[in-house]
């Protein structure tokens, strides 16, 4: 019982995001003019890519860093996908592997620059992001390409006509990728580095490997996001990632992960992404002009941020708040 209370308190950020998500979902269902399962499916698909990107962004943020190239990696992998994901099942399978590998390599490059180049993540990934965008434009100068429709339908429809497929993708990723990572020495290292790099180093934690893993993981999820976007649009777009980078950071914060690193988790980021997405729909249906939507999105983000700053109230030495 006591354990449960402690665990709930530790995950309060993610739980707040879940509550916010649930409330918005109910509002969405109520005010949707013609609500049916198809509308739910469409919403799940619209938020799918952002959710995947936000999951990736969570990892560098947990280390106290940031990945500003994540949208560019998504666009690059999306563009490559629009070249490779056609033909025989074997060709498609190889194409999938190649796209995911590309994402991981991009992430690893970010990690190497941050860890060994000792460049601050925010600027290192801003620079590599430009490089990845350039590569994406070489691969796909104009939006287009081709992606296997059968696979696309499988990914973007609903299972038994009720539960959208992306939900299963998220559950699968959390169970098969995130939980094992979180319980590994590397995963522990990701949290440890973000919490106190010096203490982590002094405890013999593999600090460098943890950072490399975080950025590589970010690239991995970015590639999944790029693939998902491809299945949704059936094409590739080298400039498709622009808005995703900053929205992914917003989703991570709403999901309860601290930008200082050390606390939070990947699951909350999924809710965070869908909170952002559903707000758009809700605002649309409630008659708010689309031009005013950023204003409301911003207001919601500010509320979420204030909630995450509540812990600072208890600190009595004001220098510690700034440290």
């Amino acid at each position: 019982m006591a354990d449960l209370v402690i665990r709930l308190r530790h995950n309060s950020g993610g739980l707040i995001a879940l509550a916010l998500f649930a409330v918005l979902l109910v509002v969405f269902i109520v005010i949707h003019p013609r609500f049916n399962m198809l509308a739910l499916e469409a919403t799940a698909n619209q938020g799918g890519a952002l959710a995947l990107i936000a999951m990736g962004q969570t990892l560098p943020v947990l280390t106290g860093g940031l990945d500003l190239s994540i949208g560019a990696i998504m666009a690059l992998t999306n563009s490559l996908g629009s070249e490779l994901l056609t033909g025989s099942p074997w060709q498609i399978a190889l194409g999938l592997l190649a796209v995911i590998a590309l994402g991981c390599v991009c992430g690893l490059i970010n990690g190497v620059i941050v860890v060994y180049g000792r460049i601050q993540p925010i600027i290192a990934t801003l620079a590599t992001g430009a490089v990845y965008t350039g590569l994406a434009l070489l691969v796909r100068p104009a939006p287009g390409g081709e992606i296997d429709e059968g696979l696309s339908e499988a990914i973007t429809y609903s299972v038994f006509g009720v539960i959208p497929t992306p939900v299963f993708i998220f559950i699968g990723l959390v169970l098969l990728v995130w939980m094992p990572l979180k319980n590994s020495i590397i995963g522990r290292g990701i949290y440890a580095v973000g919490s106190s790099e010096i203490a982590a180093f002094m405890s013999g934690v593999p600090v460098k490997r943890a950072r490399l893993a975080a950025y590589t993981g970010s690239g991995f999820f970015a590639a999944l996001g790029g693939l998902f976007l491809g299945f949704q649009t059936l094409s590739g777009d080298a400039n498709g990632g622009v808005t995703y980078t900053l929205n992914s950071i917003a989703a991570v914060v709403i999901g309860g992960t601290s930008l200082f690193g050390g606390t939070g988790g990947l699951v909350g980021s999924i809710y965070g992404a869908y909170v952002l997405r559903i707000i758009n729909s809700v605002l649309l249906f409630s008659g708010v002009p689309s031009l005013a939507q950023p204003l409301f999105q911003g207001a919601v983000l500010i509320f979420a941020l204030m909630a995450s700053a509540l812990r600072l109230i208890g600190i009595r030495n004001r220098l510690e708040v700034m440290g």
Binding site: H10, R188, Y191, A192, S196, M202, G204, G262, R316
Partner: protein
């Protein structure tokens, strides 16, 4: 306990020297620690104890000298090598990760599990058993370290160290926040470890603890090895004498004769904050320099921060110039009606904005004086800044150079000058001469005395006893957040300061110290 001297040393050092910039931290040190022995290391602040430990842990590297592990010389010793050799340190600054759970922290160096994956249940069980060993059954292993009080954190730290099966266990002030009962439990564990063959280095400023636990003692002074003896072979008086040595230099301005002084500028009554300050009362008249002494971290820093409005929830009353003052932030502290200035401890982070110019740094605290209709009057600012550079004799190229380009001593002069420009009447000085050369020190001492003579009330915290003796009209010694003794006039001697700092009453210690130190 076995006779430790008959065993070969687990770790020994020969001719170790270490410099930080121009400061000699260790000078030709010889040291050895044996298995089956608890070895206390004694010395004043800055005697070199911390550096010694850092070298053993592979965190710092000696400039010269050799280190032997079980008789074999080691080269390029890193923290990883130290861990592999079974050297485990419990540092003064806690090495826990605040956002991770207690169990995560305890098992972080070697988590249970296979192929890089951590077995949660096994980890929890291990954490529980280690916590039970240090008497911490009340701590839930899944709670976050951030949420624990300092005393529990120290025990978690000890549990973490035990989990690594140390061959050499180093405790650096590792019991400073523990109650007497907790300390007893830790001591029982240490004795068991010793009997099983672990070498233990124990660093503490509490004499009573050292008498209770140590088998051997080594004294350091000013980075030099002084002496090693078996516990009990020296009286506490002799140990204190060894720690302070005999080196007195005359670089201080003469103190004024006792004289009639105006009403106090600062009166503090019954100040308390969290568990760090308790019942602090004192007053300072214009013209006085009052010292805060004692060991590091006994609450001196908190007194100054509290008076400067940095701490929330400060209790007690503070009067300035005879009236009640509510100083809630540094901004109100420096307001002309309060006229408080603080020279912070760390000039690089708290004192200066390193990339900004010397001029901008000097004027930043007194900008409101140069503002005319919302705009800074640049020429007036420049005039005043130039005058201050002149007064302080700061050696600079141009006032527009970044302050980062100055030497440490001149940087410190900029910090002081910045606050003098506010024409403060109450000066709070936090270790203002740390890490600067003797010549500049002397200038700062002369300046302090001049400011006092011109009517400033000065509260002066220093870790250097010599400096306190040379400068202060009165010295209050802090111990565990309380003023345990105030020394005036001829009572201001190094011996009295050291004794009060350690809470040893040299006259009648047998009856008092044990109770007081554990109280």
């Amino acid at each position: 306990m076995r006779d430790a001297q008959s065993d070969p040393a687990f770790l020994s050092m020969e001719g170790i020297s270490k410099h930080y910039g121009g400061v000699v931290a260790l000078d030709d040190v010889h040291f050895a620690c044996q298995r089956h022995s608890i070895h206390a290391v004694l010395g004043e602040n800055g005697a070199g104890k911390s550096t010694l430990i850092k070298i053993m842990a592979g965190v710092a590297r000696a400039d010269t000298g050799r280190m032997m592990l079980e008789g074999k010389e080691v080269h390029h010793f890193t923290p990883v090598d130290a861990t592999r050799a079974g050297i485990v340190c419990i540092f003064q600054e806690l090495s826990l990760m605040p956002d991770l759970s207690v169990a995560d922290n305890i098992c972080i160096t070697n988590p249970p599990g296979r192929r890089g994956f951590i077995a949660q249940r096994a980890q929890r069980q291990r954490a529980e058993s280690l916590l039970a060993r240090v008497g911490c059954n009340d701590v839930n292993p899944i709670s976050r370290v951030r949420d624990l009080p300092l005393s529990r954190r120290q025990l978690v730290e000890i549990a973490k160290a035990l989990g690594r099966a140390p061959k050499l266990l180093i405790l650096d002030e590792a019991t400073s926040a523990l109650t007497a009962a907790d300390v007893e439990k830790v001591f029982a564990i240490l004795r068991t470890l010793r009997d099983q063959g672990t070498a233990i280095l124990y660093i503490s400023h509490r004499m009573a603890e050292i008498e209770a636990i140590a088998d051997h003692c080594t004294v350091f002074r000013n980075g030099r090895y002084i002496q090693t003896f078996r516990q009990g072979e020296r009286t506490p008086e002799q140990v204190v004498q060894l720690m302070i040595g005999r080196e007195i230099t005359q670089i201080y301005p003469p103190k004024p004769k006792p004289r009639a002084l105006p009403e106090p500028a600062l009166e503090v009554d019954n100040l308390a904050w969290e568990d760090r300050l308790n019942g602090i009362s004192f007053s300072i008249r214009p013209g006085e320099i009052v010292g805060l002494g004692g060991l590091d971290g006994q609450g001196q820093r908190e007194i100054l921060l509290g008076l400067f409005g940095v701490l929330r929830g400060l209790k007690g009353s503070v009067k300035l110039y005879g009236r009640d003052a509510a100083v809630r932030s540094p901004a109100t502290a420096k307001h002309p009606k309060n006229a408080i200035a603080m020279i912070p401890e760390d000039r690089k982070t708290e004192g200066l904005m390193l990339p900004m110019s010397i001029r901008d740094n000097l004027s930043i605290a007194s900008l409101s004086r140069f503002v005319k209709t919302g705009v800074i009057n640049r020429s007036l600012e420049s005039t005043r800044v130039d005058a201050m550079i002149e007064t302080m004799r700061i050696k600079i190229g141009a006032p527009s150079d970044p302050v980062r380009t100055l030497s440490g001593g001149n940087q410190q002069k900029v910090v002081i000058g910045k606050w003098l420009m506010t024409e403060a009447k109450v000066l709070l000085l936090m270790d203002p001469t740390r890490g600067i050369d003797v010549g500049t020190k002397q200038e700062i001492y002369a300046l302090m005395r001049k400011l006092a003579d011109d009517g400033a009330a000065i509260l002066f915290y220093s870790t250097d006893y010599d400096e306190l003796i040379g400068m202060c009209d009165r010295i209050s010694i802090l111990y565990h957040g309380e003023i345990i003794r105030t020394l005036v006039g001829d009572d201001i001697t190094e011996q009295n300061i050291v004794a009060a700092s350690l809470n040893v009453d040299l006259g009648k210690r047998a009856t008092q110290t044990t109770g007081a130190a554990h109280g």
